[in-house]
């Protein structure tokens, strides 16, 4: 049974369509990231799943149960807000305890002073306190329990927000850009910690971000949204190597993918400015296509074959390990960017004539509507990958505090 099912969700604010007919299934224990530029409707979709915003149409189910009519509390979710939304007048420990206090104590037991002396109150409070301590220890914030949020750093606040979400055992963890307020270094570190947390809890995570590095490093699958529309849901590698849509291809990858206008020839090859590429377009002769070439799938070459581009160097960027060459190609709207080996091509300078060719099979073809085309294109929304076993809470406790190696930032 999938953990979360979003079926045909649409959300309108007056005339704006914030979420446009999104259908999505999230598997048990999966880490799924909603990725998209600012204003594409990620938060809105997340808030609809949380029950904070009513949808215009469509339906949300959690663990096989339709939750459309349920309030956030009854949906059994936990949420980390972008602003953390910690209660400024409560201590860290009170903040973290609140979800448990609200659920496990009666109204009378929650009363100030008197509540403490009601039957059962003491035991319940002690249990809550123990749980808060345990979670705080796992997040390494146990020394901060007595402080108020105003006395914490951004990173510490973020941990408290995660801790408040963790004290219960929610069915789904929802996170709305939880790292966007942190500095770059802390962001990379917290990325790894959240991923580790997911591994240990085994709970379904739905994570919203506009940062592709976060999406690529943390997720089992990435769902790319744009203008309210869900464009592709696939594992990070697939999103990068086989984008289903030109907008996905452009959004992911830095420097961005090169896009060249082309025409399908009679022999099935595609003619692009200064070169002819042998790709199986699967389209009739004369159709126009867009060819996408990632900078690292182009290589400087000496020989001049029919698939070789000819250009003039317009800029050279030395980034230490990489060398990016911007080459102006006659007939192309923008300079083509390609990655070269800095050791081999150190001498390149403005105005040099260069030849470069794509690696075999690297070219991505998009049709007139921007959809990926070609004979080897899979369906846009692939199945979710096999997932690891769900760890129980005992395993989580035994695992002790987090120590995670830094992830390799491979998707820069």
């Amino acid at each position: 049974m999938p953990s979360v099912v979003v079926a045909g969700i649409e959300k309108r604010f007056g005339d704006t369509v914030a979420v446009d007919d999104v259908t999505l299934e999230i598997a048990q224990g999966e880490f799924l990231t909603l990725l998209g530029p600012s204003g594409c409707g990620k938060s809105t979709l997340l808030r609809i799943i949380a029950g904070l915003e009513p949808q215009t149409s469509g339906s949300v189910s959690i663990d096989g149960r339709v939750v459309d009519h349920l309030r956030p509390k009854q949906r059994d979710i936990a949420m980390v807000f972008q602003s953390y939304a910690l209660y400024p007048h409560m201590t860290v420990s009170q903040n973290m305890a609140l979800p448990l206090v609200m659920r496990q104590l009666t109204l009378a037991q929650r009363l100030p002073l008197i509540g403490r002396f009601l039957p059962g109150s003491r035991g319940a409070r002690a249990a809550i306190e123990a749980r808060v301590r345990e979670v705080a220890a796992a997040l390494e914030i146990d020394h901060l329990l007595g402080r108020k949020p105003g006395q914490l750093s951004g990173g510490q606040r973020q941990r408290v927000a995660v801790g408040r979400a963790m004290v219960r055992h929610p069915r789904v963890f929802l996170m709305d850009e939880p790292l966007s307020n942190l500095d770059a270094k802390l962001r990379v570190q917290m990325r790894a910690e959240i991923k580790e947390l997911h591994r240990r809890l085994g709970i379904t995570f739905l994570y919203v971000t506009h940062d592709q590095a976060e999406a690529m490093t943390m997720s089992d699958r990435v769902a790319v949204m744009m203008e309210g529309e869900l464009l592709q849901v696939a594992p990070p590698k697939t999103i990068y190597a086989a984008p289903a849509d030109m907008r996905v291809a452009t959004f992911i990858g830095s420097p961005r993918i090169n896009l060249l206008g082309g025409v399908v020839r009679g022999d099935g090859a595609v003619e692009v400015p200064t070169a002819v590429l042998d790709v199986a377009a699967g389209l009739s002769a004369g159709s126009t296509v867009t060819v996408g070439l990632r900078p690292e799938s182009l290589a400087l070459v000496e020989v001049n074959g029919r698939d070789t581009f000819r250009g003039t160097v317009r800029a050279v960027e030395h980034l230490g390990a990489d060398l990016f060459v911007h080459a102006e190609v006659e007939g192309a709207a923008e300079p083509v960017i390609l990655r070269a080996d800095p050791a081999a091509h150190d001498g390149l300078a403005y105005g040099d004539a260069v030849c470069f060719a794509p690696r075999p099979g690297a070219a991505l073809l998009f049709d007139g509507e921007g959809r990926r085309t070609g004979l080897d294109v899979p369906a846009p929304c692939g199945p979710s990958p096999a997932l690891g076993l769900r760890l129980d809470d005992a395993a989580f406790r035994a695992a002790g505090p987090m120590t995670v190696p830094r992830p390799v930032d491979q998707w820069r």
Binding site: G51, L52, Q82, A85, Q151
Partner: protein, 311 residues
């Protein structure tokens, strides 16, 4: 050497003279602060000092001579039944109107904020008394409260109730003035609370929803009231200051009567100074009043410093 220092001073635009730059900056600073400083001295400190000087004399307004009497005015105050009544009435007035205005203001603000329609109308309707001149409003109240032809008593009579003489009955006069005072300041409290409510981040309520505090009472106790803490403090101090200053209604409606039943500090002060022309004694009352107001203001400043932001 002399040439060098001269040219250096000449180059220093802030100085514009041969003074050192730090001195010159200080001079400029004092120069800029001087007008405000002089205003404060002439409009506040000197008059306050003048009041203090007069308070230890037996000067009567218009008299050509005066003599130093030390603390006599204050001693007399302690034995003065009118002053004691004024002090007691004022404290009672403050003790009743401040909590009442604050809580009613909060309640109305919460109601307006939770409703969807006519918000602007309700806001304006409740704020009108704050804007209106109280002396004029007091006359309207007098008409309303007239023992025989006033609207209030006509209604009471229609309902078969007693028709009290609101402003002439020594047991009723102070409560009546309190109601008018609450009516007048309610709008101000409400507007301040509305501003405070607007300042509560929406995601705190959403976090409360997710955390399970989603009933109205839980939302109120988890988010709204704690987040309004600083505003409430501010509102109650403002209300206390305004309540201590109650004067217009007393002057227009009761002149402190019947007997001393509605005598208040500011009214006593006015009567002593400008009707009985006992300026020395009036100044002594003023000092007492001033002390209360200054203490309240200091408390307010401290509280606001501490509690506006939760840190």
């Amino acid at each position: 050497m002399r040439l060098a220092s001269l040219s250096m001073a000449g180059l220093d635009l802030r100085a514009g003279s041969v003074l050192g730059p730090a001195r010159a900056e200080a001079v400029a600073g004092y120069g800029l602060a001087a007008p405000a400083f002089l205003l404060i001295v002439f409009l506040i400190f000197l008059p306050a000092f003048g009041v203090f000087v007069i308070a230890v004399t037996d000067w009567q307004f218009g008299a050509r001579s005066l003599s130093f009497v030390g603390a006599d005015n204050f001693v007399e105050m302690m034995d003065d039944a009118t002053f004691r009544a004024a002090m007691f009435n004022t404290l009672l007035y403050v003790a009743v109107t401040v909590p009442a205005t604050t809580m009613l203001g909060l309640g109305i603000a919460l109601l307006i904020e939770s409703g969807r329609s006519f918000r602007a109308f309700y806001r304006a309707a409740h704020f009108l008394p704050v804007m209106a001149t109280l002396a004029a409003m007091a006359i309207a109240w007098e008409a309303l409260l007239h023992p025989t032809i006033g609207l209030v008593n006509q209604l009471m009579g229609d309902l078969g109730l007693v028709r009290p003489n609101w402003l002439r009955d020594s047991a009723l006069v102070l409560p009546t003035l309190m109601v008018i005072g609450i009516w007048q300041n309610l709008g101000l409290a409400m507007v301040l609370f509305l501003a405070g409510l607007k300042g509560i981040p929406r995601d705190l309520y959403e976090a409360a929803d997710v955390d399970g505090a989603d009933g109205w009472l839980d939302r109120l106790t988890t988010v709204t009231l704690p987040m309004l803490g600083p505003v409430s403090m501010f509102v109650s101090i403002i209300m206390a200051l305004r309540a201590f200053e109650v004067f217009d209604t007393v002057r227009v409606l009761t002149q402190g009567g019947p007997g001393d039943a509605s005598e208040t500090l500011l009214h006593t002060l006015y009567v002593e100074s400008f009707e009985f022309l006992r300026t020395g004694y009036g100044a002594a009352v003023t000092l007492v009043f001033l002390t209360i107001v200054v203490v309240l203001t200091l408390v307010q400043a401290r509280v606001l410093d501490k509690r506006v932001h939760y840190t």
